[in-house]
Symmetry: C2
């Protein structure tokens, strides 16, 4: 586990450097806290408890609430004995994280429990550290339920199902003592070259907003008293299309793009779900680093949206102000800049907040630190941490990876797979000839490919090979090649060809690995730090596909990896393509279920698939002039032109049945209701039951600034028996049709067009209707 | 000449549509103008003449000064007899253009002369139309001197030589009656996928500024009375990195990118050379179309910079506000929006200004139209048009494509070629074996590939084949393939291989065609409308290269085309690579001169060459975080990562000699002088004379916003005999080190680093020195 070890070392270093930069421990002894102190009374409002506690704390104690500690765990969930010493205990600490993704959850929680119990005693007000962790597919520890990555989950377009999943993840986190998570990720996946696309919910602001709201509501799940089960962090404010797709690179845009595109999911989630925390991105925006962006991270969030949660830096982002962005002349200045931008919690790096220890006499800094501490303490009180600071060790066995969570995981896996091509061979009867002998081939056939920030146990669970073993009479396996390493490639491909030739069907599992796969000498190509100029198949995989295609045996291509992929060869040279993105540990079983028709596929793309690697961005909600390239048309050319449409558009995915749309209606807007109602009748016109994602898009005729032609405004997933039909209707407050110009909201009296259908592509939008709204909206 | 005909038809349509939209001709008869009217007195200041004339004109006459007329010429320089009728003569007109690039210049000027003479009489104040044309490589008519495209000329890095060229182009334009040109193009070539890169001067704001200033000064060349020889138009305000490189697509950015990057050349040229006109780009910027961008096209240009020239729309850009951007509900609204943004002259499209004919009673519109007319009339008076409105037909034979212009053209061709790779075979003695039998191969070996908006006579002049014929004993030719058409490709490649095998040396001319080459059935791939997802070699050209490489005969690759190219195969499989970009009609002779060593190459890249098509943008002046991609390094990967450095960096180009840099000094800044002086001694350490482009870059330690690590701040081209050395020094006013934050200039007391050397790459910057400027600058 070289990578985990390396991470641990980095975290240790960061902890040590805090020790070096901080003030020596104050001489004052630990106070006894009177048990009737207001802040200890759980019946009082959080604000009163925070006020009381803050008034008792000195500057250094308040400052300590801004500091996180990574690396609680040593190797294989052993106790990291240097941790207590470096925690600078007399002042207390803010948060602590495990520091590894490769340890058993029970053992890890046990160590964390001891750490919290011990460190809480050491500060005079007995303020516990809060356990915080990444949580994309679930808790980042072994033997938890390994759900799918965000991009896969969003491909289900099933908010109720996703809500159940987040609820399950929240329960597992809570039992393990993780009371604060660095998710959800609200970045817009508009740049396919970016390696982190798999962590996002897709390219559309509205879709991402819906998943974000569902995530925060179900993760935080406040009880009747408003106590949060697990606090959330909406991130990365703002990110998702850094220049050229490079991690940490600048975001480019102005105030209109900020208000109308990138900040949209943040606005929605803050308004609807009040997330406890927010993390600015590593990026600069129009040259201003988001970690010190007063205009957006302070004025916009605090004054305009009225949000009062904890803004936490990303890992090392505050020291990057000095050593990377070069906008702070030293790390102390970086710390002050971040405070001014209302950042109040620091993760990793050479600690900037640590250097503020000497500035307690500066009234401006002291006031900002007090505000930061107020927000952090509020988060702690709101999660009930003072009453109940420890993991529930006794519950881990029953509640984590519980029997109830496994079918949920399988369900969302099934709903997340996107069938992109089917020449008719699917579904395949289990009694049929094709399943009598199946060759499973490809470097990703035996791995759980779950993405960045998933628990690092990619060798457990049901990868595609195991799934196929469950449906086929005879299964043979040949790796064929490595993902991105041509060691022994000729012999491996020859073996794969031999395996294919002896089979009736090939299931070919290709693309990008999100784990290091160190043990087989392969090379990771997916996830954070893995940004690529090429959207094709890394290494010798295309060569493998060509060799297999030459055998003439039918091929089902399973694409595994968290990105849009240039798949033109696969489109022309396979019978079936299923994009599975980044599955959890039951992905193989879900693939098998789709192949036999036990599951009718219902996943839809949440990122557009380009025809050519370089023909990006390709997002469906382009501006009118984004596609205007003049006299060229793609059909004129062998050489790829840029104004090509997507190979597979946003919202697209095949089913084994067909659906018709009829009776599309758009109600007249009345100022009394303030709403528009869009309705349609959807009918299953095929011969098997199936789920359909009904999508509503809108566009406005003429605007003050250039805006997308089509915008997703509503969607729902419905289930219909063959021949059955259902009327679906959507209520849309008219304010949702508005947009911002220089930060000011416009809702124009104008003509609005609504499209209803099964994907964002014109050809899949069978009906449209215009609403004339000639009085001011 | 299908394309020319098509263009003509479009222009006719645009003229006709004006006729349809305009008011019927007014009933008032043509006045006699008294010969003592103030505006007719050339001795009065232009402002007084304009004031007088304006006071005499009615609204419709003023409005007519905003309207351009394309399509003076019919097929093959015949007279377009519908032209006079559609010119709406009683009100006069603003400007007229030839409407074709494929006619003889003498015949064209003759027709234009008649048009001007006739139409001037028809309006009561005898206001002439001004002849306007594109002018990149020279006048856009046949039999003029066909110089190089802008990207080639900038590769010379030779401002004095370029100034001579522009002076020559100006003379030819003036004699032909072209009194106003739609150049120079100040866009920054930061997006290699954009088809129009060849029209630009490169990726760096400072470099583009210097070429822009030289262009405007030498094209306008005011005489002692301030009369301009040929008025210029700086364009496209702002453009050059539209989304994905798609023509007309939006520019993305905020106020800081606008001030510090995109507008920099416009600021410089306006301040230093007062261009007569400016053209906003087709793009929107942060959602606001530049053609109606009040903040930038009006407030910035007029109020902040104090510039008072003519802002002209690009072709059809005003109607695009309605039918493409969708920010104007009809074309009349588009016209008003453009007027508010201080646009005062309209080209092409469904005329928006034409629809304003009915709004003469609207005081706001009338006032804006009057201002527009004032600016247009000022431009006409400033070019001496009232005194001397016609082409000098008698001078055309002596002054256009004159004997003086040909050596100038050859000189800049020689200086513009960039030698990227040389394994030592260059220079080749004319008596040597390699030149005893040369195979010239490739689809571009016989064509002048001069770029968009060059006169369309690509079959004249010295293409590479003719150049090689001048230096080799025996030359054979085989096309090898078409640029982007695989008709007959196997036979053509076989023939080329046979030709190569029989030769001692292959000169392989590849890449992109900027002409339609209709006559041989090839397909254009370069220039406006030709934006591409792939930066490699279109069509079967790579296949041809591979086949030729297999022969083992030494290969000189000549790259022809106006873009950065992914050339990894050529780097690994050729002896020599010369990028010629878009040459004029003596490019072949210049190539030959380089090969023999008669010319020592001195061209340097003005655009960075990426390693991989998708690894863009790749401009050298990236922000610190643009290249931060975390733990991956390119050497770890077979699959291209995004943070790769350039294959060949900005400023790079080989010579047959070598230069050393020593004694680099940076003077202390004193507030008395306001200057910093950077100096160095450059020595020719090789055995032949050569020219070196000495480049100075600077960076600032810590800034308020993120800014490039390195910025070009000075350059000069010097000539040194073997063993000779020269001290070069550069004076830099300290203000030039500043930058803008939210539109406000900052010049910080800080540490500045200066690099001096032969390219932008660290490895080529032998010395650096820091200037400490600890008092406020």
């Amino acid at each position: 586990m070289l990578s985990a070890l390396k991470m641990l070392l980095l975290l240790w270093l960061s902890v040590s450097s805090f020790g070096a930069n901080a003030e020596p421990a104050a001489a004052s002894a630990v106070d006894k806290v009177t048990s009737n102190a207001l802040y200890l009374n759980p019946k009082l409002p959080v604000s009163a408890r925070v006020k009381d506690l803050l008034s008792r704390m000195n500057y250094l104690e308040q400052l300590a609430q801004t500091r996180s500690y990574g690396g609680v765990l040593g190797y294989e969930a052993s106790y990291n004995y240097t941790f207590l010493e470096t925690l600078n205990a007399p002042y207390g600490g803010s948060s602590a994280s495990f520091g590894t993704y490769s340890t058993n959850c029970y053992l890890s929680a046990k160590v964390m429990s001891a750490v919290i119990a011990n460190t809480t005693k050491l500060n005079r007000f007995h303020i516990p550290v809060i356990t915080v962790g990444d949580s994309v597919n679930g808790p980042t520890l072994w033997n938890t339920t390994l759900f799918l990555a965000s991009l896969s989950m969003s491909s289900s377009w099933n908010i109720p199902l996703f809500s159940e999943v987040v609820n399950a993840i929240s329960l597992e986190n809570r039992v393990l003592g993780v009371r604060w998570v660095y998710s959800p990720e609200l970045d817009l996946a508009r740049e396919p070259k970016f390696g982190r696309v798999g962590e996002m919910y897709g390219e559309d602001p509205y879709l991402v907003s819906r998943f974000g709201v569902a995530h925060v509501k179900n993760m935080q799940a406040p009880d009747a008293n408003g106590t949060l089960r697990v606090a959330t962090t909406i991130k990365h404010f703002i990110y998702g299309s850094s220049t050229a797709g490079i991690n940490l690179a600048p975001m480019v845009g102005g105030i209109n793009d900020f208000y109308n595109i990138y900040s949209v999911p943040f606005q929605a989630v803050i308004k609807e779900a009040n997330p406890a925390a927010l993390m600015p991105s590593y990026s600069s925006y129009d040259g201003v680093p988001m970690t010190s962006n007063v205009a957006y991270t302070n004025l916009f969030l605090r004054d305009e949206l009225g949000w009062d949660g904890v803004a936490t830096s990303d890992d090392s982002a505050m020291s990057f102000l000095h050593d990377l962005h070069k906008t702070a002349k030293d790390i102390q200045t970086a710390g002050i800049q971040a405070l001014e931008a209302s950042i109040g919690h620091e993760i990793g790096g050479t600690s900037s907040f640590g250097t503020l220890a000497t500035l307690g006499n500066d009234p401006r800094v002291a006031s900002l630190v007090k505000t930061a501490a107020r927000r952090m303490l509020t988060l702690k009180f709101k999660t009930g941490l003072f009453e109940n600071p420890l993991p529930d060790l006794a519950q881990i066995n029953g509640k984590v990876r519980s029997p109830a969570h496994l079918p949920l995981n399988l369900n969302i896996s099934k709903e997340s797979m996107v069938l992109l091509k089917n020449d008719g061979i699917l579904p395949i009867k289990t009694t049929g000839n094709l399943l009598s002998k199946v060759a499973v081939i490809g470097p990703l056939a035996t791995y759980i490919n779950a993405g960045s920030y998933a628990a690092d146990d990619y060798l457990i669970g049901s990868a595609v090979l195991r799934g196929i073993e469950g449906i086929a009479k005879e299964v043979t396996f040949s790796r064929g090649c490595f993902v991105n390493n041509d060691t022994n490639v000729d012999a491996m491909i020859a073996d794969a060809v031999k395996t294919a030739e002896a089979a009736e069907l090939v299931v070919l599992v290709l693309r990008s690995s999100s784990s290091n796969l160190d043990n087989i000498g392969d090379v990771r190509t997916d996830g954070e730090f893995y940004d690529h100029a090429d959207l094709g198949f890394p290494g010798p995989q295309l060569q493998l596909h060509k060799a297999i295609a030459a055998t003439g045996v039918p091929i089902i291509v399973i694409i595994s990896g968290g990105q849009a992929v240039e798949m033109e060869y696969a489109v022309a040279n396979s019978n079936v393509i299923i994009h599975t993105f980044l599955q959890g540990d039951l992905g193989g079983e879900a693939v098998a279920s789709l192949i036999t028709g036990a599951t009718n596929p219902s996943g839809k793309l949440t990122v557009s698939i380009p025809k050519y690697s370089g023909a990006t961005p390709i997002y469906y909600n382009y501006l009118p002039t984004n596609r205007k390239a003049g006299i060229c048309t793609p059909t004129d050319w062998q050489w790829p032109v840029l104004n090509s449409t997507a190979r597979y558009p946003f919202g697209f995915g095949l089913s084994y049945t067909t659906f018709s749309y009829s009776n599309v209606q758009v109600s007249n807007y009345t100022s009394t209701s303030g709403n528009i109602v869009v309705s349609t009748t959807v009918k299953n016109t095929g011969s098997v039951a199936g789920q359909e994602v009904v999508q509503v898009y809108f566009g406005q005729a003429f605007l003050v600034i250039e805006r997308p032609i089509k915008n997703l405004i509503r969607f729902t997933k419905i289930n219909l028996e063959p021949g059955a039909s259902q009327q679906v209707s959507f209520t849309i407050p008219v304010e949702e049709l508005g947009y911002y110009v220089n930060g000011k909201k416009h809702v124009d009296a104008d003509t609005y067009t609504f499209w209803v259908g099964s994907s964002s592509d014109d050809a899949d939008l069978q009906s449209k209707l215009s609403l004339q709204a000639h009085h001011a909206l």
